[in-house]
Amino acid sequence: MLKVEFYGGKGGVGKTTLSSARAHYYTKLGKKTLLVSTDPAHSISDVLGIQVGSKLKSITPLLDAIEIDPEEEANLYIDQIRRDLNSILSPVVLEDVNKQLRAARVMPGTHEASLFDKMIELMDLHKDVYDVMIFDTAPTGHTLRLLTLPELLIEWFEGLIKKREKIVKLKAMLGLKEDDPILARLKIRRDTFLKAKDMIRSDNTSIHLVMNPEKMPLEETKKAMKYLNDAHQPVAEIIINKILPPDIVEPFFKNKIKKEQEVIAEVKAIYSYLKITEIYLLDQDMDADSLFKIVELL
Protein backbone atom coordinates (compact mmCIF):
# COMPACT_ATOMS: atom_id res chain seq x y z
CA MET A 1 0.00 0.00 0.00
CA LEU A 2 1.35 3.38 -1.05
CA LYS A 3 2.38 5.69 1.78
CA VAL A 4 1.96 9.40 1.04
CA GLU A 5 3.50 12.23 3.04
CA PHE A 6 2.89 15.94 2.58
CA TYR A 7 5.39 18.46 3.92
CA GLY A 8 4.06 21.94 4.55
CA GLY A 9 4.94 25.09 6.46
CA LYS A 10 5.97 28.70 6.17
CA GLY A 11 8.36 29.77 3.42
CA GLY A 12 12.04 29.14 4.14
CA VAL A 13 11.60 26.87 7.17
CA GLY A 14 13.18 23.92 5.36
CA LYS A 15 10.32 21.97 3.79
CA THR A 16 12.41 20.99 0.78
CA THR A 17 15.37 19.94 2.93
CA LEU A 18 13.23 17.88 5.27
CA SER A 19 11.18 16.23 2.56
CA SER A 20 14.32 15.38 0.58
CA ALA A 21 15.96 14.02 3.73
CA ARG A 22 12.89 11.92 4.48
CA ALA A 23 12.92 10.60 0.93
CA HIS A 24 16.53 9.46 1.39
CA TYR A 25 15.62 8.07 4.77
CA TYR A 26 12.96 5.84 3.22
CA THR A 27 15.31 4.60 0.50
CA LYS A 28 17.71 3.60 3.28
CA LEU A 29 14.91 1.40 4.60
CA GLY A 30 14.77 -0.15 1.13
CA LYS A 31 11.58 1.60 0.04
CA LYS A 32 11.08 2.73 -3.55
CA THR A 33 10.39 6.43 -3.11
CA LEU A 34 9.15 9.30 -5.26
CA LEU A 35 9.86 12.88 -4.22
CA VAL A 36 7.46 15.41 -5.76
CA SER A 37 7.87 19.17 -5.63
CA THR A 38 4.63 21.12 -5.99
CA ASP A 39 6.14 24.46 -5.02
CA PRO A 40 6.19 26.72 -8.10
CA ALA A 41 9.58 27.96 -6.88
CA HIS A 42 11.23 24.56 -7.18
CA SER A 43 14.35 23.89 -5.20
CA ILE A 44 14.70 20.12 -4.86
CA SER A 45 17.22 20.19 -7.74
CA ASP A 46 19.45 22.39 -5.58
CA VAL A 47 19.10 20.22 -2.50
CA LEU A 48 19.60 16.92 -4.32
CA GLY A 49 22.41 18.28 -6.45
CA ILE A 50 20.83 16.86 -9.60
CA GLN A 51 18.77 18.77 -12.17
CA VAL A 52 15.20 17.49 -11.78
CA GLY A 53 12.53 18.51 -14.27
CA SER A 54 8.86 18.06 -14.99
CA LYS A 55 9.48 14.43 -16.00
CA LEU A 56 10.31 11.62 -13.58
CA LYS A 57 14.03 11.62 -12.93
CA SER A 58 16.01 8.85 -11.27
CA ILE A 59 18.21 10.16 -8.44
CA THR A 60 19.35 6.87 -6.93
CA PRO A 61 18.17 3.34 -7.83
CA LEU A 62 15.46 3.64 -5.18
CA LEU A 63 14.72 7.35 -5.42
CA ASP A 64 12.95 9.22 -8.23
CA ALA A 65 12.05 12.90 -8.22
CA ILE A 66 9.84 15.25 -10.20
CA GLU A 67 9.13 18.99 -10.15
CA ILE A 68 5.59 19.64 -11.32
CA ASP A 69 5.36 22.53 -13.76
CA PRO A 70 1.77 23.83 -13.47
CA GLU A 71 2.10 25.95 -16.59
CA GLU A 72 3.19 23.01 -18.69
CA GLU A 73 0.39 20.83 -17.29
CA ALA A 74 -2.22 23.53 -18.02
CA ASN A 75 -0.93 23.87 -21.57
CA LEU A 76 -1.17 20.12 -22.13
CA TYR A 77 -4.75 20.16 -20.87
CA ILE A 78 -5.79 23.11 -23.00
CA ASP A 79 -4.09 21.67 -26.08
CA GLN A 80 -6.12 18.49 -25.60
CA ILE A 81 -9.33 20.54 -25.51
CA ARG A 82 -8.22 22.29 -28.65
CA ARG A 83 -7.84 18.93 -30.39
CA ASP A 84 -11.41 18.06 -29.33
CA LEU A 85 -12.57 21.31 -30.87
CA ASN A 86 -11.08 20.93 -34.30
CA SER A 87 -13.28 18.04 -35.29
CA ILE A 88 -16.48 19.73 -34.19
CA LEU A 89 -16.74 23.39 -35.02
CA SER A 90 -17.02 25.98 -37.72
CA PRO A 91 -14.01 28.30 -38.14
CA VAL A 92 -15.90 31.39 -36.94
CA VAL A 93 -16.97 29.86 -33.64
CA LEU A 94 -13.59 28.18 -33.34
CA GLU A 95 -11.81 31.51 -33.22
CA ASP A 96 -14.11 32.68 -30.45
CA VAL A 97 -13.51 29.55 -28.40
CA ASN A 98 -9.78 29.73 -28.99
CA LYS A 99 -9.83 33.21 -27.55
CA GLN A 100 -11.46 31.83 -24.40
CA LEU A 101 -8.89 29.05 -24.17
CA ARG A 102 -6.02 31.48 -24.56
CA ALA A 103 -7.41 33.55 -21.72
CA ALA A 104 -7.79 30.41 -19.62
CA ARG A 105 -4.03 29.83 -19.59
CA VAL A 106 -3.62 32.84 -17.34
CA MET A 107 -6.91 32.96 -15.45
CA PRO A 108 -6.81 32.67 -11.65
CA GLY A 109 -6.98 29.11 -10.41
CA THR A 110 -5.60 27.53 -13.57
CA HIS A 111 -2.19 26.65 -12.17
CA GLU A 112 -3.61 25.51 -8.88
CA ALA A 113 -5.98 23.13 -10.67
CA SER A 114 -3.40 21.82 -13.13
CA LEU A 115 -0.97 21.21 -10.27
CA PHE A 116 -3.64 19.38 -8.34
CA ASP A 117 -4.52 17.23 -11.36
CA LYS A 118 -0.89 16.24 -11.87
CA MET A 119 -0.57 15.39 -8.18
CA ILE A 120 -3.59 13.09 -8.34
CA GLU A 121 -2.34 11.57 -11.58
CA LEU A 122 1.03 10.74 -9.99
CA MET A 123 -0.61 9.24 -6.92
CA ASP A 124 -2.96 7.17 -9.03
CA LEU A 125 -0.75 6.07 -11.95
CA HIS A 126 2.28 5.13 -9.86
CA LYS A 127 0.65 3.73 -6.77
CA ASP A 128 1.98 0.28 -7.56
CA VAL A 129 5.46 1.45 -8.56
CA TYR A 130 6.42 3.24 -5.34
CA ASP A 131 6.24 2.38 -1.67
CA VAL A 132 6.41 6.00 -0.56
CA MET A 133 5.49 9.30 -2.20
CA ILE A 134 6.69 12.51 -0.61
CA PHE A 135 5.22 15.86 -1.56
CA ASP A 136 7.27 18.97 -0.93
CA THR A 137 4.56 21.63 -1.05
CA ALA A 138 4.43 25.39 -1.41
CA PRO A 139 4.05 27.61 1.68
CA THR A 140 1.20 26.78 4.04
CA GLY A 141 -1.96 28.43 2.69
CA HIS A 142 -1.42 26.96 -0.73
CA THR A 143 -0.95 23.43 0.60
CA LEU A 144 -3.95 23.54 2.88
CA ARG A 145 -6.18 24.63 0.03
CA LEU A 146 -4.81 21.91 -2.17
CA LEU A 147 -5.61 19.23 0.40
CA THR A 148 -9.18 20.38 0.91
CA LEU A 149 -9.85 21.08 -2.77
CA PRO A 150 -11.41 17.69 -3.62
CA GLU A 151 -14.22 18.13 -1.12
CA LEU A 152 -15.12 21.53 -2.50
CA LEU A 153 -14.98 20.31 -6.09
CA ILE A 154 -17.01 17.17 -5.46
CA GLU A 155 -19.87 19.30 -4.17
CA TRP A 156 -19.74 21.56 -7.22
CA PHE A 157 -19.70 18.64 -9.56
CA GLU A 158 -22.56 16.87 -7.81
CA GLY A 159 -24.65 20.01 -8.35
CA LEU A 160 -23.70 20.28 -12.01
CA ILE A 161 -24.39 16.58 -12.60
CA LYS A 162 -27.87 16.93 -11.11
CA LYS A 163 -28.61 19.87 -13.38
CA ARG A 164 -27.28 18.05 -16.40
CA GLU A 165 -29.27 14.92 -15.64
CA LYS A 166 -32.43 17.00 -15.66
CA ILE A 167 -31.55 18.30 -19.12
CA VAL A 168 -30.86 14.80 -20.43
CA LYS A 169 -34.18 13.63 -19.02
CA LEU A 170 -36.10 16.46 -20.68
CA LYS A 171 -34.30 15.81 -23.94
CA ALA A 172 -35.28 12.15 -23.76
CA MET A 173 -38.90 13.14 -23.23
CA LEU A 174 -38.70 15.15 -26.43
CA GLY A 175 -37.21 12.18 -28.24
CA LEU A 176 -33.85 13.90 -28.67
CA LYS A 177 -30.48 12.17 -28.39
CA GLU A 178 -29.84 10.57 -25.05
CA ASP A 179 -26.10 10.12 -24.69
CA ASP A 180 -24.64 13.33 -23.40
CA PRO A 181 -20.86 13.87 -23.58
CA ILE A 182 -21.14 16.69 -21.04
CA LEU A 183 -22.76 14.47 -18.43
CA ALA A 184 -20.20 11.75 -19.12
CA ARG A 185 -17.30 14.17 -18.60
CA LEU A 186 -18.78 15.64 -15.45
CA LYS A 187 -19.08 12.16 -14.00
CA ILE A 188 -15.50 11.24 -14.90
CA ARG A 189 -14.28 14.38 -13.12
CA ARG A 190 -16.38 13.77 -10.06
CA ASP A 191 -15.11 10.21 -9.82
CA THR A 192 -11.51 11.43 -10.08
CA PHE A 193 -12.09 13.84 -7.21
CA LEU A 194 -13.75 11.15 -5.14
CA LYS A 195 -10.67 9.02 -5.68
CA ALA A 196 -8.43 11.95 -4.76
CA LYS A 197 -10.42 12.56 -1.60
CA ASP A 198 -10.08 8.91 -0.61
CA MET A 199 -6.35 9.01 -1.21
CA ILE A 200 -5.86 12.19 0.82
CA ARG A 201 -8.13 10.93 3.59
CA SER A 202 -6.48 7.52 3.68
CA ASP A 203 -4.70 6.36 6.84
CA ASN A 204 -1.61 5.90 4.71
CA THR A 205 -1.49 9.63 3.94
CA SER A 206 0.05 11.93 6.50
CA ILE A 207 0.74 15.63 6.85
CA HIS A 208 4.00 16.89 8.30
CA LEU A 209 4.35 20.52 9.28
CA VAL A 210 7.80 22.03 9.30
CA MET A 211 8.56 25.10 11.42
CA ASN A 212 11.48 26.97 12.95
CA PRO A 213 11.70 27.57 16.70
CA GLU A 214 10.50 31.17 16.47
CA LYS A 215 7.31 33.01 17.34
CA MET A 216 6.09 33.68 13.78
CA PRO A 217 6.48 30.16 12.37
CA LEU A 218 4.83 28.91 15.57
CA GLU A 219 1.80 31.13 15.01
CA GLU A 220 1.55 29.96 11.42
CA THR A 221 1.81 26.34 12.53
CA LYS A 222 -1.00 26.92 15.04
CA LYS A 223 -3.18 28.38 12.29
CA ALA A 224 -2.41 25.48 9.97
CA MET A 225 -3.17 22.99 12.75
CA LYS A 226 -6.52 24.66 13.38
CA TYR A 227 -7.41 24.76 9.70
CA LEU A 228 -6.52 21.12 9.19
CA ASN A 229 -8.31 20.15 12.36
CA ASP A 230 -11.46 21.94 11.16
CA ALA A 231 -11.14 20.12 7.85
CA HIS A 232 -10.78 16.82 9.78
CA GLN A 233 -7.38 16.29 8.23
CA PRO A 234 -5.08 14.99 10.98
CA VAL A 235 -1.42 16.06 11.16
CA ALA A 236 1.10 13.32 11.87
CA GLU A 237 4.19 15.25 12.84
CA ILE A 238 5.64 18.66 13.57
CA ILE A 239 9.27 19.05 12.62
CA ILE A 240 11.14 21.87 14.33
CA ASN A 241 14.03 22.72 12.08
CA LYS A 242 17.18 24.87 12.38
CA ILE A 243 17.33 24.79 16.18
CA LEU A 244 20.49 26.45 17.56
CA PRO A 245 22.75 23.89 19.29
CA PRO A 246 22.52 24.45 23.08
CA ASP A 247 26.28 24.34 23.62
CA ILE A 248 26.96 27.85 22.24
CA VAL A 249 28.18 30.05 25.10
CA GLU A 250 28.26 33.53 23.53
CA PRO A 251 25.78 35.82 25.33
CA PHE A 252 24.10 36.92 22.07
CA PHE A 253 23.19 33.36 21.23
CA LYS A 254 22.44 32.32 24.79
CA ASN A 255 19.39 34.54 24.87
CA LYS A 256 18.33 33.37 21.43
CA ILE A 257 18.68 29.73 22.48
CA LYS A 258 16.56 30.41 25.55
CA LYS A 259 13.81 31.92 23.39
CA GLU A 260 13.96 29.00 20.98
CA GLN A 261 13.69 26.46 23.77
CA GLU A 262 10.61 28.31 25.05
CA VAL A 263 8.96 27.93 21.64
CA ILE A 264 9.91 24.25 21.49
CA ALA A 265 8.48 23.71 24.97
CA GLU A 266 5.26 25.42 23.91
CA VAL A 267 4.93 23.21 20.82
CA LYS A 268 5.49 20.12 22.94
CA ALA A 269 2.92 21.28 25.48
CA ILE A 270 0.19 22.14 22.97
CA TYR A 271 0.71 19.19 20.66
CA SER A 272 1.74 16.56 23.17
CA TYR A 273 -0.21 13.94 21.21
CA LEU A 274 1.93 14.50 18.08
CA LYS A 275 5.31 13.27 17.03
CA ILE A 276 7.67 16.23 17.44
CA THR A 277 10.98 15.97 15.61
CA GLU A 278 13.81 18.34 16.46
CA ILE A 279 16.53 19.10 13.92
CA TYR A 280 19.54 21.19 14.93
CA LEU A 281 21.07 23.84 12.73
CA LEU A 282 24.05 22.70 10.66
CA ASP A 283 27.24 24.72 10.33
CA GLN A 284 27.03 24.57 6.54
CA ASP A 285 24.71 25.40 3.66
CA MET A 286 22.25 22.85 2.41
CA ASP A 287 23.46 20.71 -0.46
CA ALA A 288 23.53 17.06 -1.46
CA ASP A 289 26.30 16.26 1.09
CA SER A 290 24.94 18.08 4.11
CA LEU A 291 21.52 16.61 3.35
CA PHE A 292 22.76 13.23 4.53
CA LYS A 293 23.62 14.72 7.93
CA ILE A 294 19.94 15.55 8.27
CA VAL A 295 18.99 12.07 7.10
CA GLU A 296 21.02 10.74 10.04
CA LEU A 297 18.97 12.87 12.43
CA LEU A 298 15.60 11.51 11.31
Binding site: A74, Y77, I78, Q80, I81, D84, L85, I88, L89, V93, V97, Q100, L101, A104, M107, P108, G109, T110, A113, S114, L149, L152, L153, W156, F157, G159, L160, K163, R164, K166, I167, L170, K171, M173, L174, P181, I182, R185, L186, R189
Partner: protein, 91 residues
Protein backbone atom coordinates in the same frame (compact mmCIF):
# COMPACT_ATOMS: atom_id res chain seq x y z
CA UNK B 1 -68.75 33.20 -39.96
CA UNK B 2 -68.07 33.72 -36.27
CA UNK B 3 -69.48 30.27 -35.65
CA UNK B 4 -67.10 28.63 -38.16
CA UNK B 5 -64.14 30.46 -36.69
CA UNK B 6 -65.02 29.16 -33.28
CA UNK B 7 -65.22 25.62 -34.57
CA UNK B 8 -61.79 26.02 -36.19
CA UNK B 9 -60.39 27.32 -32.93
CA UNK B 10 -61.94 24.42 -31.05
CA UNK B 11 -60.24 21.89 -33.27
CA UNK B 12 -56.88 23.64 -33.12
CA UNK B 13 -57.08 23.51 -29.36
CA UNK B 14 -58.32 19.94 -29.20
CA UNK B 15 -55.90 18.47 -31.72
CA UNK B 16 -52.95 20.65 -30.80
CA UNK B 17 -52.88 19.19 -27.32
CA UNK B 18 -49.69 17.22 -27.95
CA UNK B 19 -48.01 20.21 -29.44
CA UNK B 20 -48.75 22.19 -26.33
CA UNK B 21 -47.22 19.54 -24.06
CA UNK B 22 -44.20 19.35 -26.32
CA UNK B 23 -43.79 23.12 -26.19
CA UNK B 24 -43.97 23.09 -22.42
CA UNK B 25 -41.23 20.49 -22.13
CA UNK B 26 -39.16 22.38 -24.67
CA UNK B 27 -39.56 25.48 -22.59
CA UNK B 28 -38.48 23.61 -19.45
CA UNK B 29 -35.52 22.23 -21.31
CA UNK B 30 -34.42 25.68 -22.46
CA UNK B 31 -34.72 26.99 -18.93
CA UNK B 32 -32.65 24.11 -17.58
CA UNK B 33 -30.07 24.61 -20.28
CA UNK B 34 -29.83 28.28 -19.36
CA UNK B 35 -29.40 27.36 -15.71
CA UNK B 36 -26.69 24.89 -16.53
CA UNK B 37 -24.93 27.39 -18.74
CA UNK B 38 -24.96 29.89 -15.90
CA UNK B 39 -23.63 27.38 -13.39
CA UNK B 40 -20.98 25.96 -15.70
CA UNK B 41 -19.77 29.04 -17.54
CA UNK B 42 -20.26 31.78 -14.97
CA UNK B 43 -16.76 32.95 -15.84
CA UNK B 44 -18.23 34.43 -19.00
CA UNK B 45 -20.11 36.82 -16.71
CA UNK B 46 -16.94 37.54 -14.78
CA UNK B 47 -17.74 35.32 -11.81
CA UNK B 48 -14.85 33.30 -10.49
CA UNK B 49 -15.75 29.72 -9.57
CA UNK B 50 -13.47 26.91 -8.40
CA UNK B 51 -14.57 24.66 -11.24
CA UNK B 52 -13.72 27.13 -14.01
CA UNK B 53 -10.65 25.22 -15.14
CA UNK B 54 -12.55 21.95 -15.41
CA UNK B 55 -15.39 23.54 -17.36
CA UNK B 56 -12.99 24.32 -20.19
CA UNK B 57 -13.14 20.71 -21.36
CA UNK B 58 -16.91 21.05 -21.78
CA UNK B 59 -16.63 23.96 -24.19
CA UNK B 60 -16.39 21.81 -27.33
CA UNK B 61 -19.71 20.19 -26.38
CA UNK B 62 -21.41 23.30 -25.09
CA UNK B 63 -20.89 25.61 -28.02
CA UNK B 64 -24.16 24.48 -29.58
CA UNK B 65 -26.14 25.35 -26.47
CA UNK B 66 -24.30 28.64 -26.06
CA UNK B 67 -25.14 29.60 -29.63
CA UNK B 68 -28.80 28.74 -29.12
CA UNK B 69 -28.83 30.78 -25.94
CA UNK B 70 -27.36 33.83 -27.64
CA UNK B 71 -29.93 33.56 -30.44
CA UNK B 72 -32.76 33.30 -27.94
CA UNK B 73 -31.51 36.31 -26.04
CA UNK B 74 -31.24 38.38 -29.21
CA UNK B 75 -34.61 37.30 -30.58
CA UNK B 76 -36.77 37.91 -27.55
CA UNK B 77 -38.83 41.09 -27.49
CA UNK B 78 -38.89 41.69 -23.78
CA UNK B 79 -37.96 39.90 -20.60
CA UNK B 80 -41.34 40.79 -19.09
CA UNK B 81 -43.31 39.29 -21.93
CA UNK B 82 -41.44 36.06 -21.44
CA UNK B 83 -41.98 36.02 -17.67
CA UNK B 84 -45.65 36.89 -17.95
CA UNK B 85 -46.24 34.19 -20.49
CA UNK B 86 -44.72 31.72 -18.06
CA UNK B 87 -47.40 32.71 -15.58
CA UNK B 88 -50.15 32.83 -18.20
CA UNK B 89 -50.74 36.54 -17.65
CA UNK B 90 -51.26 39.06 -20.40
CA UNK B 91 -49.06 42.07 -19.80
Amino acid sequence: MKFLENIALFFTGALGFNKKAYTLIEKDLRQEEDNFLLAARADLLGLNFPTMYYMLELIPYMVEEEEAWIKRMVKRKSIWEERFSDLDIDP
